[in-house]
Symmetry: C2
Subunit: 650 residues, 2 copies
Amino acid sequence: MKRFKIRFLPIDIVYTAEEGENLLDFAMSAGININASCGGFGTCGRCRLKLIEGNIEYRGQRESSGSETDKKEDIILACQSYIKGDAIIEIPIESQIDKEALREKIKTKVLSARYDILSLNTIKPNPIVFKKLINIKLATCEGMDDLSSVIGAIKKEIHKKDIKVRLHALQTLPSTIRDANGVITVTLFDTGHYWELIKIESGDTTKRQYAIALDLGTTTICGRLIDITEKEKDGPRILEELSDYNAQISYGDDVITRIMHTKKKGGLKRLHDAVVKTTNSIMEELIGASGIKKEDIMFIVAAGNTTMTHLFLGVEPTYIMIEPYTPCFLSPPVVRAYDIGINLSRETPIFSFPCVSSYVGGDIVSGIVGSGLNKKDGVNLFIDIGTNGEIVLTGPDWMLCASCSAGPAFEGGGIKCGMRAAKGAIEQIRIDPVTFEPTVLTIGHIKPAGICGSGLIDGIAEMFLSGIILQNGKINRDLGSKRIRQTEGVYEYVICYGKDTLTGKDIVITESDLDNLMRAKAAMFAGCKVLVDVSGIGLDDIDKIIIAGGFGHFIDPFKAQIIGLFPELPVEKFSFIGNASLHGATLCALSKTYAQEAQRVAQMMTNIELSNNKAFMDEFIAAMFLPHTNERLFPNVIKKIKNSIGDKSV
Amino acid sequence: MKRFKIRFLPIDIVYTAEEGENLLDFAMSAGININASCGGFGTCGRCRLKLIEGNIEYRGQRESSGSETDKKEDIILACQSYIKGDAIIEIPIESQIDKEALREKIKTKVLSARYDILSLNTIKPNPIVFKKLINIKLATCEGMDDLSSVIGAIKKEIHKKDIKVRLHALQTLPSTIRDANGVITVTLFDTGHYWELIKIESGDTTKRQYAIALDLGTTTICGRLIDITEKEKDGPRILEELSDYNAQISYGDDVITRIMHTKKKGGLKRLHDAVVKTTNSIMEELIGASGIKKEDIMFIVAAGNTTMTHLFLGVEPTYIMIEPYTPCFLSPPVVRAYDIGINLSRETPIFSFPCVSSYVGGDIVSGIVGSGLNKKDGVNLFIDIGTNGEIVLTGPDWMLCASCSAGPAFEGGGIKCGMRAAKGAIEQIRIDPVTFEPTVLTIGHIKPAGICGSGLIDGIAEMFLSGIILQNGKINRDLGSKRIRQTEGVYEYVICYGKDTLTGKDIVITESDLDNLMRAKAAMFAGCKVLVDVSGIGLDDIDKIIIAGGFGHFIDPFKAQIIGLFPELPVEKFSFIGNASLHGATLCALSKTYAQEAQRVAQMMTNIELSNNKAFMDEFIAAMFLPHTNERLFPNVIKKIKNSIGDKSV
């Protein structure tokens, strides 16, 4: 990936963009306020920037909507522009409002890129299921059997472990080894107690060793196809990566609704079938896209929350939702593809991550391994924001974890115009603190259809900064903006009028939405606070905050601090690592060292149950304020707010 | 079983019969020559005996066929009479011919009954898959999972072994233990490396523990349903026993034909499906007859020859028939019911016996364990006569074994009027040495349809004793009996004329039949001789000869010595133990001590390959004579023959 320097005038700040990045995305993520009411679709023509010099590629609508004057003056629509080289761009005067935010943003962006996630190419593969090339001699006298010849050769050439053969490998062994001309490839699975001989192939197939890593999310399932061979040069490890909505969505948004569905007749089977169906279709696509053969996939490593792991294995999750929240298992057994209907060779082992409790699952264990926090010095905070919010505080020889029932607000649930992070979802909002006019950017740059979680955080932080929302989470009735209005007795702020939206209806943020988001952010913050208090340290002692989750990397940490979702800490302490769970599963697929590490992490974690925890309830209530009732926890945010709205809020 | 004394007059010999025994069977097995050309069907009315006193029950045709005179004189038809108490019976004068044979016969019968097969009731059950009652406490606080509660309880109450759970047991664990009121029954499988938790049931089900023992014969499959619970009193261990023809019969009589069939498209699957189908139907019947529940069957122990074990597991057997006769495996893996289509709970383990070589299989290993020879002092010879003939010579710390390609003659194959040991098969023949008139007894006492293997041995021995056959195995052309004739250039002896047979065709023994039987008996004897020679002992040093095989117990050892099938040894050294393989499987199901013993036996056995063995070929040719070219090996038989036919054979 090439990187280019983009210099913004007149503020004169330079920073680095990746080749092909959209200019509107880039500018907005840098905190530059650009009007774009069509969400990036190219129709409103308001996201105008001036190209002083450089290599920018225009796509889509630009030719038709840009006026002749614009062309002459090198005015470009940011939403239709893609970075192809270094460039100097002038920002219109009305967009120069938030230098400070811009600087914070850049710092974060640069720093988070520096957080060193383990590079996959530095890892020497040592997978739990592996292929070995074996020289085999056919029996030349009576009294020998083929299996003993194969096992003898393995013991002689590799290791004197006990070896047990799986029936499927045995069934065609005789013809396979006779087709082989003296060289066979055996697939072995180190069960810990003995080696299992899963497969025998003629000739050398050791160059074809692949695994699938899965992140089984409540909402989304992500899959990776990984090359687990030893490579002389650095070759690509991740051949393909894909994600799709979990087909279980039809049976409820959150794990509790899903668990309730399993109590209906055939419900457990329906949910099991749904997640397996999604997994199979993702694998089918991964395999199809890569051109490898399905039979060369040797195993699966799956990370899911506790409920998802139960449903993936077809295990009753009922008591996860009933006090004292008892899952059926924490350490899942290794199963085979055919045990659960996974569409691979029947004996293919499927490993699931161990869970810590009913609400801190294998995805978090995997996330910790993926983040490398299990090997990091100091005290670090890991936050995974998905459908649920899980947090882990890691110390030198301890780990505390908790799950905060953040509710579905971060995924757009319970929000009037909420939607998932899909095409047309508003994911960034800027509000002019003078005119209260918003600028929005949607996923996919199409007309807005609703607001996703990160858009909501962004929007509410902007509303708070611009004085539209008060510290108690209520809308300021006294601003006199047309966009603030009352509908059926509830105050709301209009982000997009129906004429600009995909649905034709107004997109708004209501006081009820605010209330839901307040609960969600308060739960997350209270959870962090309780863990920190239990550990006996202070918030300031945290060395790093690692934000994981497919959702996490859309969140602006500065905005998240403004609403009090994350503790106020220097922005350079924050790192965004994306889907750490999928990364952890990838590491465990590559080497059993990581798989063993995952077991250790799961055992090491102490779960702090928050659901009936007095300290948590107190912290939760204290956090039901913007940014928090205790202003001393957010001195910089308070200062910023005072600067921003100080004059108006009297 | 009650026993009664039957006194035969005028020879005045008393011996013991079992209640309900058929009088014709009983008399013929005692060597009493009774005319019965209808095979025991009750129509010919020739098997007349006089009941002097005693309790005999008449069934079937007797009332209609017996004449008024007969009734008055208490003449009964033996084939319609069943022993119900002590009795005195007068044998018609024409039946008093063979006192010596009678005495030999009685001796054998009494002695063989004395051979002490391990009584199942003396065994303390210690099966490899077992149930245990566990007290279980549900989690009362957070952080516990159900599986850990169960495993913790098992480790606390039974043993601190590693325990792994099977997915199927896990899937419904939560509701099962909550239905249980604190008491659950766990089914555990001791894999050697760890304990596997296969099943969890509510309440106490430890009284319901059953296993299936299988003898997978090439021709016949036998199954037993065994109660493996610990019993305070001696209860029945074998609840049901059933056998059926192996459905593979449609694809060939012997293992070689079956192996050739596997090379056809879909052939292996067809053969695998056939044996599984027969097994499933036998199990279905066993379960149905006993009234137990299918899910209480905890495992299967299967003993089969090497080819049958391959086909049962769906493994390519191809190279078993190609020099150097290499089977795919000797130690079969433990598989699960669903791996091979066995119609029991999916995780049910299926254990197959280890094999020794391509032609000495798990059935022989099982037979040795079943016979107890592995624990016996001295030198003993084990002979299993089925579709193939396998022999094992056991010493104090060694075992030699071999397989003799006896050919299918003993199962009625390659014999003009040969048939399997089914209803209507002639299984006993007596020939009057004066008139050359035969008496026959069929299985099921119906009209004769053909001759089975034991009938053939019986008939040929009788033909030899009566001078119809010469020592070179040819029919004596000079006797002048109508029953000796030439058909299409081949000499033959007519046993039954068409008017008395089921098919309406004559039943004969031809010189080709004699040739086939000569080869079969010569192979068996030569095999024994080679093993004895290899071991460095003499035939006389053999302490016991154990004849096993479903077929074995129909053979008259005295007759078998006359034709030279068995070595000439005092009749009290012979024991008939029936299906030793099934008995061995039963022992292994009851206790893993025997299963471990089977492993030891398989490893201890040295296979002597006979197929290209010079010594065997020499012994084989020497044995192609009645009883043998070396008369010193059969001094008593020679004496007997000289007595019997001395006058005529000059």
